[in-house]
């Protein structure tokens, strides 16, 4: 589904990302971990063609993202609050995204109503603009907006941060459901090793822009990751 080849991103002389080869098959739940500055957000931004690669390329579904825009119809993302339009209500925002993704209001209503649990009564019908919601509630709205229009690839940057414990658990359920029932490829990053080992079938560890570990999640994975990160801390 997503193939990354010889991808290199440099700012001036500083290398921030260097991935020789990374293949993510369709329907995989893929986790990205790494300390600050490891290149997680850079990788996601490259995937969405928000920054230009210094060399190499990413192909999703056979489309080179920096050359064609045909990856956009089947790709959705929520990177940070800058994906939200502050002066819209959550409903208006969902409808707007829906329009861009060829969904009418009824489609959007149907999808969104399935997440009432996740919203915990704090998003819909609040008569508030997105900018007036708390960080956590903004995130909930942004994550659900990324699910509109049956995307085949969903990219979420640190989806667990800022969420309350109940919502974190519900989000894990949502992600698992997407991967198992709808064959969606989900890419997430997180600083929370427990959550990410819980949700992802495969975890890649980035360090200074390079892949240092590529693990199929098993019961030993959490221990291995904890060992890895406590080692780097000492160094």
């Amino acid at each position: 589904m997503i193939t990354t080849s010889n991808l290199l991103k440099k700012y001036n002389k500083n290398q921030v990302l260097n991935i020789k080869l990374l293949e993510i098959p369709k329907g995989q739940s893929f986790g990205l971990v790494g300390n600050n500055g490891a290149g997680k957000t850079t990788y996601f931004s490259l995937l969405l063609d928000l920054i230009k690669p210094t060399a190499g390329y990413i192909e999703t579904n056979g489309v080179r993202v920096d050359e064609s825009e045909n990856w956009k119809p089947f790709t959705a993302a929520f990177i940070d609050e800058s994906f939200l339009i502050g002066y819209l209500t959550p409903e208006e925002y969902f409808y707007f995204i829906g329009e861009l993704r060829g969904q009418n209001k009824a489609d959007v209503d149907k999808l969104v109503s399935g997440f009432e649990d996740f919203f915990h009564g704090e998003i819909l019908g609040q008569k508030k603009y997105l900018r007036d919601l708390s960080k956590g509630n903004q995130k909930k709205a942004g994550i659900v907006a990324a699910l509109i229009g049956n995307p085949k690839v969903i990219i979420l940057d640190e989806p667990f941060a800022n969420l309350d414990p109940t919502t974190q658990i519900r989000l894990k359920g949502i992600i698992k459901n997407l991967v198992e029932k709808q064959d969606v490829t989900v890419l997430i990053s997180s600083h929370d090793l427990l959550h990410i080992t819980d949700v992802c079938e495969r975890i890649v560890v980035l360090e200074h822009g390079e892949i240092v570990k590529d693990l199929v999640t098993s019961e030993a994975t959490l221990k291995e990751l904890e060992a890895h990160f406590s080692r780097t801390e000492v160094l």
Binding site: L48, D49, Y129
Partner: protein
């Protein structure tokens, strides 16, 4: 401490992404500033002889005093529109061991060193010197000059008080206009003669310097009021408190008539209506429509038809200029999201274009009553409306591709009340001057009709090649996509 504040501001200015661009504008503004200073200086030097000539039997000092009321009022109004309280990022400072009062005193102190406060000195000092040369009492003249300087400062602080109260309202400039209009009216019809009161006040200060205490007391009072207002604002309560803003949802179904640009048009309309910053551009429309009233009734302009073109472009194009110059910066806070969505960029731009065209048409229709001042004016307004639609819309959108400055729609800097300044008006100059120039040439060589025809033809050519311009502009925007995303994600207010 002041040293620290200065170094913070210095770094803020020089590390800003827009430093280069700001520098160019600042240099330009600097030239304008120098020019204004020279004008004031010239006035100051020639004031005494001129007054002596016009009012030979009167004392020039008394004449000046009797006009002080108008000067104070005019100064206050122009300050309100141009001068802003210096902006400072205070949030990071709040938890540091710095006394709040220090921050406020710094900000207020800095404001009193503003260019505006020195401007009046350029008239007063040469005038005072010529008074002394003519044999007026040295001490009295010095005290008189001091009193004027204090009044300048009073205006400085009074302006911030007015701004802080009126900024919360939508028609922020209305209270001041009404207030000064009433004062002026009362004075004009001699109900209460403020010019006499203020005049005799200054005469009194000249006679017995002890009265200078009164303006000093007023200044102190205004300073304290400012201090209190800002002190209240220095707590985060106001920004942390979740303000419950009444949501107005209208479905804007009528936009569906515009076909596939409808979602963007709905977004743009909500953008304009729901953000303070954009909403203020709507109120500018009224001002723009009335702009002609300042000139058309004046017989001086009757035989200067290039002026009609100038005003025509301004009147029907004021929304275009105010809104257009910040495309795509209006969407800067969620530009990343738009770029990752499956949108046709041309549709996105087309929505903005359509809005601007509609505004031009409506504003033109509203300006039709100017026909009262002559059919030439209607003709000029008509051709400039065509020119606005065909040329200026495209020009301003093309220019937008070079706009790399983020606009923070929902976050107001603590001390920034109005958000826009002189620069905004400067950008409009080429858009208005170009057609006036072109018209002027053809008017001089041929006549009014030919000049108007040329302007209209330029506009029609622009409209005919609309698709071509749009794909050119779209390409330009797409080419600078990465740069824009990068710039818009930087916080550089």
């Amino acid at each position: 401490m002041i040293k620290h504040f200065l170094s913070l501001e210095w770094k803020g200015a020089f590390r800003s992404l827009n430093f280069g661009k700001n520098l160019a504008i600042k240099i330009f503004m600097g030239f304008i500033g120098v020019w204004i200073l020279l004008m004031f200086l010239g006035t100051g030097l020639s004031l005494y002889p001129i007054l002596k000539k016009i009012f030979p039997e009167k004392d020039p000092l008394l004449v000046v005093n009797s006009f002080l009321f108008y000067w104070i009022l005019g100064d206050l109004i122009s300050r309100f529109f141009i001068q802003k309280l210096p902006v400072m990022r205070v949030k990071p400072l709040l938890i540091l061991p710095i006394k709040r009062s220090k921050v406020i005193n710094y900000v207020l102190g800095k404001s009193s060193l503003s260019f505006f406060n020195f401007l009046s000195l350029f008239i007063i000092v040469p005038f005072g010197v010529s008074l002394i040369v003519k044999g007026y009492s040295l001490n009295s003249v010095l005290i008189w000059m001091l009193a004027i300087a204090i009044v300048t400062q009073i205006n400085n602080f009074l302006n911030f008080i007015i701004e802080s109260f009126s900024s919360k309202k939508e028609l922020s400039f209305l209270p001041l206009i009404v207030f000064s209009g009433v004062l002026y009216g009362l004075n004009y019809f001699n109900a209460i003669s403020f010019s006499e009161i203020i005049g005799s006040g200054f005469n009194a200060i000249y006679e017995s310097p002890i009265f200078v205490i009164i303006p000093i007391a007023i200044l102190a009072l205004f300073y304290i009021i400012n201090f209190k207002i800002l002190y209240k604002k220095l707590f985060l309560d106001s920004s942390l408190k979740s303000k419950v803003e009444a949501v107005n949802t209208s479905n804007l179904e009528w936009t569906k008539n515009f076909g596939d640009i409808a979602p963007f048009m709905q977004l743009d309309l909500k953008l304009i209506w729901r953000n303070k910053r954009t909403k203020s551009t709507i109120w500018m429309l009224a001002l723009g429509l009335l702009y002609g009233m300042f000139f058309y009734p004046n017989p001086t302009y009757v035989d200067k038809p290039w002026f009609f073109i100038f005003i025509g472009v301004f009147t029907s194009g004021i929304f275009l200029m105010n809104f257009g110059q910040f495309i795509p910066a209006w969407d800067s806070s969620y530009y990343k999201m738009l770029m990752s969505q499956n949108i046709k960029y041309e549709k996105y731009l087309k929505s903005k274009f359509t809005l601007m065209v509609i505004s031009v048409l409506i504003l033109f229709l509203l300006s039709v009553p100017y026909v009262y001042f002559g059919w030439e004016i209607l003709l000029a307004h008509f051709v400039t409306a065509i020119y606005n639609v065909g040329v200026n819309t495209h020009v301003i959108m093309y220019g937008g591709a070079y706009n790399r400055k983020k606009i923070n729609l929902d976050e107001k800097a603590t001390f920034n009340y109005q958000g826009t300044g002189v620069v905004q008006w400067l950008i409009g100059i080429p858009l208005m001057v170009m057609p006036a120039l072109i018209f002027g040439v053809f008017y001089a060589v041929f006549n009014l009709e030919v000049g108007c025809l040329v302007i209209a033809l330029l506009g029609i050519v622009g409209i005919v090649f609309h698709q071509k311009w749009m794909s050119l502009i779209t390409k330009k925007y797409l080419d600078s996509k990465y740069k824009m995303i990068d710039a818009f994600s930087q916080d550089n207010s």
